[in-house]
Amino acid sequence: MGAICGAVVLAFLLCALLADVLAPYGPNEIMPASRLSPPSTAFPLGTDYLGRDMLSRILHGARLSLTVGLGAAALATLVALVIGLSSGYFGKRIDLLTQRFVDAWMSFPDLILLIAAVSIIGPGLVQVILVLGINSGISGSRIVRGAVLATRQSLYVHAAEAMGAGSLRILVHYVLPNIAAPVILLFTMRTGSAILTEAALSFLGLGIPPPAPSWGGMLGGTSRNFMYAAPWLAIVPGLCLLIVVFGINVVGDSLRDVLDPHHMASRRRRAAARR
């Protein structure tokens, strides 16, 4: 399962990278003569209301969506790690202050917060990544903090302290590797949700401004008016979102299992047995 989904996600990544080569037309190339044509050999996924090739737009859109997803998730993980590690490891006053701040932040509805933030700093790729990343990083810090609190109480951390290791060393070599599983899950889940949230923002016209081919933007905007007449306008980007987000989440699950030291050891034993 993990391998199949990994292959699918990889395929989308390749499409995103090679969009310029693979796309039969330019993403914004308008062919008024073939507006709203259904899937055919000339246009495998049909065209939209301006006569732009859907396949080309999906391929270029993959680049945008994955950039937003991975970028925002990386930023979110970084923010969550910084807040969660310091809050969970140093505890006491630092923990109290940061956690009340996180409480306050999480008490705002996400979408309202995002809409407000985007309308202040304006739409655009970098802005969307920043806003999504920071927002989901702050709420994600709870997951990191919880894992750190559990790890901090473990005997091997006490043993490292007794050995004379400093705080930074304990954080990097003892706490961090042992919270890898939830952090990996955090990253992949945030990738999926960032892609979806970007789609929602673009659907509302607050994400990446047209004519850039974002998957969410393709679902929303003017194409909404043509969805009954030309269902491929909604089905194609919607299906892509579904497949990619599902795939990334499954990959995260299996990545966590693979990185478990128990797994590593049994793999090595199997390899040794073969030799």
């Binding site: 302290e161 004379g164 290791a165 400093g166 042992n178 128990h262």
Partner: protein
């Protein structure tokens, strides 16, 4: 037995106390009192000497060990290690001094970082204390350590979960010895292991001590084990040392009623003796550590308790080259 009297002790613990706050329920968590887990404990430990620390669960043995390592805050007393007063040493200087004092924990399944390979686990103390030199030096040291504790050098690339409890405890002994400490604190190092493995680990510790001149603070509740490994033995009850004596003196002629009861509770491998004897201990009462108000903490269970025991705490007094805290034995 112990070394010559003129020698300066490696570790001098004087009248240390550790109190944990007891907070009320609710949001405010007002402090409503404190538990004195360790209450006025004093002892000395010399180079190449083993002090056994025995007592029942909750008597403050492990807390004493953690306090000696400054892993817990003291609420009173003074600790000197290797000529330094470490009672109020700052974090950075304390970290440097930790090189001289290492610890082995009770649970070998939890005390090794599951994400590190054995070679790395053994290198860590060297890296932390800046003893790696060039890379090859530390690799050689890891091999030495593995050999010292009787493990194959091929184990260095494995993870802790691939080892049995006894092997893991060998690894944690090797880790503790990596920086050649002067003091090794063993907190119930074998109570999580099978009996057959226990003997191996104990013999390893005895052997290592003989070879390196290490001082051991050995905590256990198994009296036979402590007798086997210790030069002197301290008996703790409710956070206090009630008796401290040379091993043979303590085991052959225990003075304190609690020590007597503990030794009487050791089963004999003779069914007739075993059925004929009675322990003579009063019903089990929890030690009164929250409110040690007045009186000997053992007086509730003591078969020989007198009136004075219930109103006055007996100090730890010297008697016949040993120390005992009991009203039965007045000053010398």
């Amino acid at each position: 037995m112990s070394t010559s009297t003129g020698e300066k002790p490696l570790l001098r613990v004087k009248d240390i106390s550790v109190a944990f706050p007891v907070t009320g329920r609710g949001i405010v968590r007002r402090r409503i009192g404190s538990v004195r887990a360790v209450d006025g404990v004093s002892f000395e430990l010399r180079q190449n000497e083993t002090l056994g620390l025995v007592g029942e669960t909750g008597s403050g043995k492990s807390t004493t060990a953690l306090a000696v390592l400054r892993m817990l805050d003291l609420s009173g007393g003074r600790i000197e290690f290797d000529g330094h007063d470490i009672t109020r040493l700052g974090r950075a200087r304390m970290r440097r001094l930790r090189r001289g004092m290492q610890m082995i924990f009770q649970d070998p399944f939890a005390s090794l970082n599951p994400r590190m390979r054995i070679g790395r686990i053994l290198e860590e103390p060297l890296v932390v204390h800046g003893l790696t030199g060039d890379g090859r030096g530390s690799a050689r040291r890891v091999d030495e350590l593995l050999e010292l504790v009787g493990l194959d050098s091929g184990t260095r690339d494995r993870f802790p979960h691939e080892f049995s409890g006894g092997q893991r405890q060998r690894i944690s002994i090797a880790r503790a010895l990596a920086v050649s400490p002067k003091l090794l604190i063993c907190d119930e190092p074998v109570s999580a292991l099978d009996v057959s493995i226990q003997a191996q680990i104990i013999n390893l510790l005895v052997d290592l001590k003989r070879r390196t001149g290490l001082a051991l603070l050995f905590i256990a509740h198994d009296l036979a084990l402590v007798r086997h490994i210790s030069d002197r033995v301290a008996v703790m009850y409710a956070g206090r040392i009630v008796e401290l004596a040379d091993r043979d003196a303590l085991y052959e002629r225990p003075l304190h009623p609690y020590t007597q009861a503990l030794l009487a509770a050791v089963p004999r491998p003779d069914p007739e003796v075993e059925t004929a004897r009675g322990i003579g201990l009063l019903p089990d009462e929890p030690p009164r550590s929250i409110d040690p108000a007045l009186g000997c903490p053992f007086s509730l269970r003591c078969p020989k308790a007198m009136d004075v025991c219930r109103c006055e705490t007996p100090p730890l007094r010297m008697r016949d080259a040993r120390a005992v805290a009991c009203h039965l034995y007045g000053p010398d």
